[in-house]
Subunit: 207 residues, 2 copies
């Protein structure tokens, strides 16, 4: 019996249109139209963003969608002043948070090594927070590109009172807010001038 | 003089093929063919990944591409044992690192508020490391999806001696290795069974 000499799998390459949509043409929007974003679209952003990898498949990111006026009224005062008007105007806002008790799910999401749950138990909250924050930030990158993949402009903001937002929206101390993201269709004058990117050789090196 | 009542800009939506390439079909590869990855492709991965946003446009991620045998010989022993064989076999490897002196570039990359450099000076290395690590992780998410956009399978690994890798490849203490990523075309038996993702309601909530 012989095994056929299969050609290696060649993966397709993303076309220019899609590169533009996610990376090169997409921009952080600072104003939004009042066109609502459906709950189905918001749910779908997560259903796409959930797939790329995290360490030991731990998936510590949590997403709270704020789209009611009551929710906005709780969030906006906790944003830095320069972020308040646009957060109030965005048709939907996502609060992204790191779950420091992500390890409760390890037996379910990493069944090949369920004993990792015990390792994270022993690491304590501080040890887990490092893992949770890092991997949540990685997932936040996926989330922002998924929002763009849904035809939405995203406006990520680090300028807010993280402790106050965590306490207000995630009582119990288990979730640490890491990023607030305005979502919607870009409004008038949505974009500032594009800021420069670092020179290639200031970022990339080779051995 | 009247201003025309322009319709709001509607952004296009990523098609199923591209969603599959970046999110839903793409998988972390654990073996690679020996087909080389050109330096042009590796450079292009960064040129795409550099565009999505970071806080105050600080762009703290640095990328070191390891593709010579001499470079591999320095890296592989610093990987966890379970990651050594696949790192040795990958045609190219990226060491992703956070630059804790990213603020040196603030006047260049954030000219609208150059005084932020002084704020980061005062924050000290520890304060800057939090910012650098978080935003580098966000950029690592962009980097992984950009590698996929180039038709490559990526194999991100957190299992390595981060201090030793930082010292070996980034002498001076300015760069902290955060992730090592194998890059290449998937080889035979490249994929383990896909691990489960968390249930929607364990991640997403609404107000």
């Amino acid at each position: 019996m012989t095994t056929p000499d299969l050609a290696p799998v060649r993966l397709p390459v993303l076309d220019e249109h899609a590169r533009g949509l996610l990376f090169t043409d997409a921009r952080t929007a600072n104003s939004f139209t009042d066109e609502p974003i459906s709950d189905e679209t918001l749910a779908s952003i997560w259903e796409l963003a959930k797939w790329p990898p995290t360490a030991a498949n731990t998936q510590p990111l949590r997403v709270l969608y704020v789209r009611t006026q009551a929710g906005k009224d709780r969030l906006v005062p906790l944003m830095m002043e320069g972020n308040q008007a646009k957060t109030a105007a965005a048709p939907a806002v996502a609060i992204l948070a790191a779950d420091v008790d992500f390890h409760q799910f390890v037996p379910q999401v990493f069944p090949i090594r369920p004993e990792l749950k015990g390792y994270f138990d022993e690491a304590g909250v501080d040890g887990r927070e490092t893992h949770a924050t890092f991997n949540s930030a990685l997932q936040a990158g996926y989330f922002l590109l998924s929002a763009r993949a849904h035809g939405l402009a995203a406006g990520p903001m680090g300028g807010f009172d993280a402790d106050a937002v965590s306490t207000e929206f995630f009582p119990g101390g288990r979730h640490k807010a890491i990023l607030v993201v305005n979502l919607g269709h870009p409004g008038p004058d949505a974009y500032y001038d594009r800021l420069p990117r670092l020179a290639h050789n200031d970022v990339v090196s080779w051995v």
